[in-house]
Amino acid sequence: MFYSIDLTIAWALLLAFSVFVYVVLDGFDLGIGILYPFFREKSDRDIMMNSVAPVWDGNETWLVLGGGGLFAAFPMAYAIIMPAVYPPIIAMLLALIFRGVAFEYRWRANSRLSKRAWDAAFIGGSVTAALAQGIILGAFLQGIEVEGRAYAGGWWDWLTPFSILCGVAVVAGYAFLGACWLNMKLEGEIQHRVRIMARGFFVATIIGIAAVSLATPFLGAGYAARWFDWPQIALTAPVPILIAGIALLLFRTLFHPERDRLPFILGLVLFALCFLGLGISIWPLAVPQEITLWEAAAPAKSQLFMFVGAIVLVPIILGYTAYAYWVFRGKLDPEKGYH
């Protein structure tokens, strides 16, 4: 029996990892769509889109792994959460369709009007997907009503001021990551502009992080206890302190014209720390505030069968994903699209 408990934790960590990879990878590429309205020149928009064109569908595959992994390792949690956040999930899926096809259609459209329409689809899809993901996070944190093995709430329960706050925070955070990515990939005048934008979205992101962090303990007694009770506080206290430290460092690098890569790397660290904070809040629940990971876990035989494969395959996937990024590394030449 004890090895099944270990597997459940292992799966929770692996799923958390794939959701984190999704959030940072698709985060910057959704962020580019969110930043699109601030760049009106067609050539600027072309190069922004080209900076993620070779990697975007790999990025979204992590979302499929998150959903598929939850289905496989915690089928009961998957079966409860999905109906609970039905409208934002459907909105996210449809939004991802709009922005995904824009990557290809934008280059096939030859009238000005249809080009603008696919630009609008890219912007609208990116903003909506980011907002919906934040709302889903918020709805999940604030708790889901469960009866037996099924969702028992209504189909608007997800909509609260807290979930909207989370949605807005995620939009700001993704825009910030997108700006950091572009700061790394572009040069010249446009890089100067994205760096200024990165500062604005950085401030918005920090405000978002602070607001969500302050609101979370009021959502339920469990959250406050996990953060503030002795002795956990010795382990949890460093997280907000580290976030503050990274934030200060980030703020300084954003004013340093020589720093092209550092803001993006520090941005990833910032997201990782926030993710760790969320993990502390939720642990060890699979569906707040009702179902623990162990209650929702698939039988050990299911988890073990997948785990054997995942432990071999995930490092290989990370390897060739890194290779694909490495092939398309460095600054983009605005004179040369990809062929």
Binding site: P83, I90, I317, G337
Partner: protein, 478 residues
């Protein structure tokens, strides 16, 4: 009961799943075939250095890129719909099918997506060897993906290797038995072959279009039409053989589905007829206006003219699938299959007479048959899925007991959103693909991401620059 426009939540959820999966299915069916076609073209180009293959590679790569993007985004939807609309099914069957789908993501989706960027944009960056490797990985990835998802689908048709736990969940007992369930090898072979055949007819249809429009001397057009017709001639008969084997397997494990396919309401103790036409009336339990060939069904299914065959009168009414849908979708699929065989044979005759590129009626027929594979694939899929009803996991879990606790209005609203948005988005995509197909593959075919206007690529010779410019002014032989 809670309804939306007269439909209850279960029916709406079925419509939504059926609609989104049917739309999604079209894209992988094409991208499985195209990925392999592209890998072959790129390999032939590297081997022979014949420019026609590179031209075709770049031409079909643009179409592949759009198809693949539509497949990815419509596929993300599928991985979440199990939970959003079929949460009870997800909870109960998740321990068995969830891991198989997770393996699909880990072994196939990442492989395809990881190497797709290099395949499309990376030829100059990684060199021909690694680029070829990337093309192969994408092709292999699409086939691996099909393997896993068809294993899942087959398990839902012929489930085995599991037990039912106290909490109602299906618990895996023997993974080998689950993955290699009885219908899996047949369904995999039949569906993969269908994907290759579908793509061959699309490629052949595009080739035929340009042959009819006076591009007979274009080596790209000749090559693609010839390759497609070889596929039609060789693979269509193989597919009919595989389909027959799959049917016999279905007879063994899901006899009610075969009864519906055949329109056999009544049992035939001494030889059942093969009905070619009829109007199934499930209320009256009879096939009206039936036109059939006596005893042929027994010959096909039992290899004996007088072999007895049970009919739907041996199946309780609440265990019968909707007969009319299964009966007709099956006939559409089989009819298209034989029409494909006809085109294949016709092309062999034309080739034998050395008139393959000078046979306008063959070209017209091939053009009409261009999209037929897509229709056949969807019809075949409807046959097998509707034929499984009223079960979602055959014999183990009923569809009516598997849906999410959602109101009809929630599902109805999302269904309308899916229908409207899919038609707009994928309609535009099809229009762009048709526009690409309308141009004949030209010397110095462009890649995926080159804007019209002068190409300012650094470090190419003037001659290459002319070849890459994509304008048809360059002579055929440099």
């Amino acid at each position: 009961m809670d309804t939306f426009l007269g439909f209850d939540a279960v029916m709406l959820a079925r419509m939504q799943f059926g609609f989104t999966v049917a739309f999604h299915f079209i894209f992988p069916a094409v991208s499985i075939g195209l990925a392999s076609f592209l890998a072959v073209l790129n390999g032939l180009f590297l081997w022979t250095k014949d420019e026609a293959y590179l031209r075709l590679f770049k031409y079909w790569l643009k179409i592949f890129a759009i198809t693949f993007a539509m497949g990815v985004v419509s596929g993300i939807t599928m991985s979440y719909q199990f939970g959003t609309n079929w949460s009870v099914f997800s909870d109960i069957a998740g321990p068995v099918i969830g891991p198989l789908m997770a393996y699909e993501v880990l072994t196939a989706f990442f492989l395809e997506a990881g190497f797709l960027g290099i395949m499309i944009f990376g030829r100059d960056k990684v060199g021909p060897g690694l680029h070829m490797f990337a093309c192969l990985m994408v092709a292999v990835g699409t086939a691996i993906s099909a393997t896993w998802i068809l294993s899942v689908n087959s398990w839902m048709q012929t489930p085995q290797g599991f037990a039912v736990a106290e909490n109602g969940q299906f618990v895996p007992e023997d993974w080998w038995a689950i993955i290699f369930n009885p219908s899996f090898p047949y369904r995999l072979a039949h569906t993969l072959t269908a994907a290759y055949l579908t793509t061959a007819f699309i490629v052949g249809g595009v080739g035929a279009w340009h042959l009819l429009r006076g591009q007979r001397e274009n080596p790209g057009v000749r090559t693609m039409f010839s390759m497609a017709m070889w596929m039609a001639a060789i693979v269509a008969p193989v597919q009919i053989f595989l389909g027959d084997a799959h049917g016999l397997n279905t007879l063994e494990h899901q006899p009610a589905k075969v009864m519906a396919m055949e329109g056999h309401f009544e049992s035939h103790p001494d030889g059942a007829p093969l009905y070619l036409f009829g109007i199934p009336d499930q209320e009256a339990q009879e096939l009206k206006y039936a036109v059939g060939i006596p005893k042929l069904s027994s010959l096909i299914l039992k290899h004996h003219l007088d072999a007895p065959l049970d009919g739907l009168d041996t199946i309780p009414r609440d265990e019968q699938p909707p007969v009319a849908v299964v009966f007709w979708s099956f006939r559409v699929m089989v009819g298209i299959g034989f029409a494909m065989l006809g085109i294949g044979m016709w092309s062999l005759w034309a080739r034998f007479r050395k008139r393959l590129f000078e046979a306008p009626w063959l070209h017209r027929a091939a053009l009409v048959m261009g999209p037929s594979g897509l229709v056949a694939v969807i019809a075949g899929w409807i046959t097998t899925e509707v034929g499984r009803q009223p079960y979602v996991v055959y014999g183990a879990l009923r569809t009516a007991e598997a849906h999410s606790p959602l109101g009809a209005s929630a599902v109805g609203a999302s269904l309308i959103a899916f229908v409207v948005i899919y038609f707009v988005i994928f309609g535009a995509g099809v229009a762009y693909i048709l526009k690409l197909m309308h141009h004949a593959p030209a010397l110095g075919e462009r890649g995926v991401r080159v804007e019209p206007g002068p190409i300012r690529t650094a470090g190419v010779t003037p001659q290459n620059q002319m070849r890459e410019s994509g304008h048809d002014i360059a002579p055929e032989t440099p």
